[in-house]
Symmetry: C2
DNA sequence: GTTGAACGGGACTGTTTCGTCCAGTTAGGC
DNA sequence: GCCTAACTGGACGAAACAGTCCCGTTCAAC
């Protein structure tokens, strides 16, 4: 609904001000991905971004406001990444490449930190309604990207015409998020890899009868 | 590995001491499910359990120790529930009843708080190695229960003999956990319901050829 | 070259939370 | 009835954190 992707600037006007604002958000996002929101103090953000506390409160009314800015920032990043990686997928092979790239990235950190969006959602959903709705919106956008890819596969004759791609997209995203969580808990990507593979295997059973392989 | 399900008592001997200990853990578990671990203070636990702070530190060396006790407690509860609900499942209809019961329970709170185990895992996995391993163990136990159910379905001729139930179990648990997270973020059970339904639909495609329905 | 926004730096308040300690009370086993 | 674990109750310290405030400086636009 809200058309501005930069959230309330809290204070008007900008020039280089935007740059420090960006620097603050970037540092906060990094810290929060690693330490969680609750584990990240404003002083941490202060040090990491090389910005004085007065500036922090100049740009953000609140810690919650900063968290929300982090959410839009991380959200934009994830959606951009997924748009890029999923936007041209129209075959099962393409979907597998998408899978490989996610798994590879998560394997590098042995599953640590989980999904950038999912972790934020788990920590914030039950105590900041605004943030929760922002994350809900982002998940929906992610679902749409998956849905679109499945739609293209359907139109390309890879998938059977009768399937409900919107429902499958929800299932896919759930498998992905659950996989992230299991991998994080196990400190091992394997469960995540299995989860996505099972989801893809399901898709294979829904392949259009005249084109079992692609 | 560890054979004692009650974790280190921190102090030896007991009588009614066990009762207050249980009371503390129960109160802490309730609070942490609703407010999260970070959002729950020891004073909260103190008030909710009607126990003085000195007793808290009599039974638990640390907040972390209390958290671990909560994990074993919640873990036992969840595993007991799942053993009960999943232990006799050997048909697709039985699996659907299991699904209905989980969805129904989560619908009552509109998805709030998510999965008792999953939420703990997300909050604690990256900063308490011991707790992380405990949760990993619990997830594995949960997987085994699902695996067993799928195994029974296989032996009963409901599922095809060639399927790898262990992998499917991981996929199932991931769908479940991801569904919990999406439902929590949306404040609506629907995505969770869809996620599990998609997982079950996949199972249906793997039904033994001579028994397409069950 | 003046003006004002952007910034550094840090002191300061108030609150929350973890954790310690201890003096006195209750209760149950032997 | 004695002994000791279990417990109440609260004072206390220390640290972490959020949030406020102010003074002086830098930078960029006009």
């Amino acid at each position: 609904m809200n058309a501005n992707s930069d959230e309330s600037p809290a204070i008007r006007l900008t020039a280089r001000g935007m740059k420090t604002r960006t620097r603050i958000v970037a540092a906060a996002a990094d810290l929060m991905r690693v330490q969680g929101i609750g584990g990240t103090t404003l002083d941490d953000v202060m040090v990491a971004s090389g910005v004085s506390k007065s500036q922090l409160y100049r740009h953000f009314e609140d810690k919650d406001a900063l968290v929300r800015a982090v959410i839009t920032n991380v959200g934009e990043f994830v959606i951009a990444r997924e748009t890029n990686m999923l936007g041209s997928v129209s075959t099962l092979a393409g979907l597998r490449r998408w899978r490989d790239s996610l798994i590879k990235a998560n394997a590098l950190r042995h599953g640590m930190y989980g999904c950038a969006l999912g972790s934020l959602a788990g920590e914030v959903s039950d105590h900041d309604a605004v943030a929760r709705e922002m994350l809900d919106e982002l998940f929906r956008a992610w679902q749409s990207l998956i849905d679109d890819a499945l739609g293209r596969m359907k139109r390309a004759g890879v998938l059977d015409d009768s399937i409900d791609t919107a429902r499958l997209a929800v299932g896919f995203l759930a498998s992905l998020q659950g996989g992230y969580l299991l991998a994080q808990t196990a400190r091992d990507v394997e469960p995540m890899a299995i989860a996505i593979d099972v989801a893809i295997a399901h898709l294979e059973t829904l392949a259009a009868p005249d084109r079992a392989a692609s």
